[in-house]
C-alpha cells in the first residue's frame, strides 16, 4: 500500500465532495483551478465520479443528511484513497462542531468509517475559513512531497 501511495504522487485526480458547506470553500477550489493559480501544474484534475478519483476534497461539517452519501462516495473510491479535509468545517467542525445535525468534521467521520470497516489511507487537514487557494495548493504540494510541513504542535508550561 505504501508503494501505491508513492505512485499516487505523480498526478492526483480529485473529486469534490460537498457535505453541507456554505460554498465559500467550493468557490476557493474553483479559484485554485483558474489559470491564475492553476492547480493543473501539479496534475490536479477534477473528475466527475469518485470511481476515477485518488483524492476526495471534503468541504463542510458533514450533515447527518449527507452522511450516507459521503460514506458511499468514500467506499466507491479505489484504494489508496486520500481525503483532504478543507476549511474549519471539514477539518474540525467549525462553528457547527457541536450542533445536533452535524457530526463535527472529518474526525467524526473517521470514527464512523472505522466502525464500518472502511479504511482511509491518509487524511490531510487544511484549516482556514475559507481556505485560501494557496493553502489548497500547499496541501497538494505537501501530498506530492514538493514542500515540507511547517505546522507543529506546541506545548508550553507557564509556572
Amino acid at each position: 500500500m505504501s508503494k501505491a501511495l508513492e505512485r499516487i504522487k505523480r498526478s492526483i485526480w480529485v473529486f469534490h465532495l460537498n457535505t453541507g458547506s456554505c460554498n465559500a470553500c467550493d468557490i476557493e477550489i474553483l479559484d485554485a483551478l483558474t489559470p491564475y493559480h492553476d492547480a493543473e501544474r501539479f496534475g490536479v484534475k477534477l473528475v466527475a465520479t469518485p470511481r476515477h478519483a485518488d483524492v476526495l476534497l471534503l468541504t463542510g461539517p458533514i450533515t447527518l443528511e449527507s452522511l450516507p452519501k459521503v460514506i458511499n462516495a468514500i467506499e466507491a473510491t479505489p484504494r489508496p484513497r486520500i481525503i483532504i479535509a478543507l476549511g474549519s468545517c471539514g477539518s474540525g467542525g467549525g462553528i457547527w462542531h457541536d450542533t445536533y445535525s452535524t457530526i463535527g468534521g472529518v474526525n467524526g467521520l473517521l470514527k464512523i468509517l472505522k466502525e464500518r470497516g472502511v479504511e482511509v489511507d491518509a487524511v490531510y487537514y487544511v484549516p482556514g475559513c475559507p481556505i485560501r487557494p494557496e493553502a489548497l495548493l500547499y496541501a497538494v504540494a505537501l501530498i506530492k512531497g514538493v514542500v515540507s510541513k511547517k505546522r507543529e504542535a506546541k506545548m508550553y508550561k507557564a509556572e
Partner: protein
C-alpha cells in the same frame, strides 16, 4: 469576407495572449500574494498569558478551550476549528494574543494542529483547597487592585465565609 475574419480569430487571440504574457503564479516556489489585513492563525505568547479564559468565552467555534484538572488549567488552541475572526485578540486583557498572516497550516496529522499552554492553579491560604485561579491571574489582580489582597488568595467558599463574618461583626459585634 466573414470566413476570413472567422479564420483569423485564433490569431487575434494569440496576439492578445502574447501582450498579456504569463499570469500563472509560481506559488509554492515563491512568496504568496497576501494583503496586509489578511487574517491568519493567532499566536499566543506563553510568557504573557495569565489563563483568565476571556478568549475562551469570546471564541465562536470553541477553538480555544480551557481544560481544567485537579491542579492544572490548560488552554488548548485547535487551529483546525479556528475561523480566524481575531475576537480573542480584542478581549485579551494582557495583549498576549497577536495575529499573524500565516495560512500554510496543512498537515497529515491532526495532533499537529493543537497548541497547549499549561497553567498551575493556586492553593487557598485558609483551607488549603485548590482555587480556580492561576498564579499569574492572582498577580494580575493584585497589580490592578491591591485592596483585593485579603480575598484574592482564598477559594470562593472561604471568601464568602470571611465576608459574612465581617458583615456580622459590623452589625452585632464579635460573635463566636
Amino acid at each position: 469576407m466573414s470566413f476570413i475574419k472567422r479564420a483569423l480569430k485564433p490569431v487575434e487571440v494569440i496576439i492578445v495572449a502574447a501582450k498579456v504574457g504569463r499570469v500563472t503564479i509560481k506559488y509554492p516556489f515563491e512568496e504568496p500574494l497576501i494583503s496586509p489585513d489578511f487574517r491568519g492563525k493567532i499566536e499566543i505568547d506563553p510568557t504573557k498569558c495569565i489563563g483568565c479564559g476571556a478568549c475562551v468565552n469570546a471564541c465562536p467555534p470553541n477553538a480555544l478551550e480551557m481544560i481544567e484538572s485537579e491542579d492544572k488549567k490548560t488552554l488548548r488552541y485547535f487551529v483546525g476549528r479556528c475561523i480566524f475572526c481575531w475576537r480573542c485578540i480584542d478581549v485579551c486583557p494582557v495583549g498576549a494574543i497577536k495575529g499573524t498572516r500565516e495560512f500554510e497550516l496543512a498537515t497529515n496529522d491532526v495532533l499537529d494542529l493543537f497548541d497547549f499552554i499549561i497553567h498551575s492553579k493556586t492553593r487557598c491560604n485558609t483551607c488549603g483547597k485548590m482555587t480556580s485561579e492561576t498564579t499569574r491571574m492572582q498577580k494580575f489582580i493584585l497589580e490592578r487592585a491591591p485592596i483585593a489582597e485579603v480575598y484574592s488568595s482564598k477559594c470562593p467558599e472561604c471568601r464568602r465565609n470571611s465576608l459574612i463574618r465581617a458583615v456580622a461583626m459590623r452589625k452585632v459585634g464579635l460573635y463566636e
